[in-house]
């Protein structure tokens, strides 16, 4: 893991196969380890959010504080499931494969989407990044950051195209069962919210789940979907994703400044993408990637 990969001083004259070889060497160096951070993150976040409910209902934690914590919890749900979607925790057939699946299934329900819906649509996003018809995340396309936020809100409306794109992606892949599962998740979520509300816990349901969920989705779409792929028309392996500098830093943008590495080598754990990017940067530069981190 700590091996040093020495790059030639002039990469521009290297043939494609040598660039590819060096790139893969770096990618392999930063992959294959067990991403324990993602597992701790997933279950710690789940336990924290579940614990909020009795703590708020018993007045141990005030609702305003519960709301802030719940919003952070909701924003943190997606990335561990994202590691699981890419089999980074354990590949099929591996001893810890059950843990990979558990991380995905046990946490993705918090943001009201079945794990396999995330998995199938996200892999389509990788396959067809920025394609106007085949990329299920294309609706995050927007001309600037404020438009991206507004677009994220608009696309969640009943007439939003985003959910139609997701359903179309699942149908293209022959997964009508996941379409039904998605509908059941949405109805179940609404049923729980209504039951809580009519039992006298409307404000708790609103501030611990509904509003944090919506804030988190806007945040996630902005940083995980819009920012790394902006401007969306660019397609092609080395052009569809960019590196960039976030005003809220690497943690505030959830490591998405280095999302280009994830799109090129999706088996690298999130926590390793910054180091992989720094090492890979000269190669990416030689390949004409969109490096906007300066």
């Amino acid at each position: 893991m700590s091996e040093t990969i020495t790059l030639p001083s002039d990469l521009s004259s290297l043939p494609e196969k040598d660039l590819r070889k060096l790139e893969l060497q770096i990618a392999r160096k930063h992959s294959g380890m067990f991403p324990w951070e993602a597992v701790v993150w997933a279950f710690g976040n789940l336990v924290c959010w579940l614990a909020l409910w009795p703590l708020v209902l018993l007045d141990v934690v005030p609702l305003w504080l519960g709301f802030i914590i719940a919003t952070i919890n909701m924003s943190l749900v997606y990335l561990p499931t994202h590691e699981a979607q890419h089999d980074i925790i354990a590949r099929p057939g591996a001893k810890l494969r059950w843990l990979n699946e558990l991380v995905g299934h046990a946490t993705s329900w918090m943001i009201v989407t079945p794990f396999n819906v995330f998995r199938f649509t996200h892999l389509e996003h990788h396959k067809h990044t920025n394609h106007p018809e085949l990329d299920p995340d294309i609706t995050s396309n927007a001309d600037g950051p404020w438009q991206a936020i507004w677009q994220a809100i608009k696309q969640r409306q009943p007439n939003g195209k985003r959910s139609q794109d997701y359903l179309a992606s699942l149908q293209r892949q022959g997964r009508d069962d996941l379409v039904l599962m998605t509908i059941l998740f949405r109805l179940g979520h609404l049923a729980i919210l209504c039951a809580l509300a009519w039992s006298g816990f409307a404000l708790e349901a609103f501030f611990l789940w509904w509003l944090p969920y919506h804030i988190a989705l806007t945040y996630l779409v902005f940083f995980l979907s819009w920012a790394p792929h902006y401007p969306q028309p660019e397609q092609g392996r080395y052009r569809n994703t960019r590196s960039w500098m976030s005003k809220v830093g690497n943690i505030g943008s959830m490591g998405m400044q280095f999302h280009i590495v994830h799109h090129l080598h999706p088996y690298i754990p999130l926590t390793r993408t910054p180091a992989a990017y720094r090492e890979m940067r000269p190669i990416l530069e030689a390949r004409g990637c969109r490096l906007e981190d300066h």
Binding site: I153, Q157, P158, R186, A197, W198, A202, A205, F206
Partner: protein, 64 residues
């Protein structure tokens, strides 16, 4: 079954408005110590407000 499910999905804005938004508004008013105008209860007032918003969202296909 499929027809019932489609009908249910098509009615989501109204279900959300009356099933969730109305009690949120009513309990929010209670928590803030606000009283509904025209001598109505907070819940009736909230059902009218949320129901109106729900009808608009139902017709427009959007809450915003």
């Amino acid at each position: 079954m499929e027809h019932a499910l489609k009908l249910l999905l098509a009615s989501m804005p109204m279900i959300f408005a009356l099933g969730f938004l109305a009690p949120v508004i009513a309990q929010g008013m209670d928590a803030l110590g606000w009283s509904a105008p025209f001598g109505t209860t907070n819940l009736i007032f909230a059902l009218v407000v949320a129901g109106t918003l729900g009808i608009v969202a139902q017709i427009r296909g959007s809450w915003v």
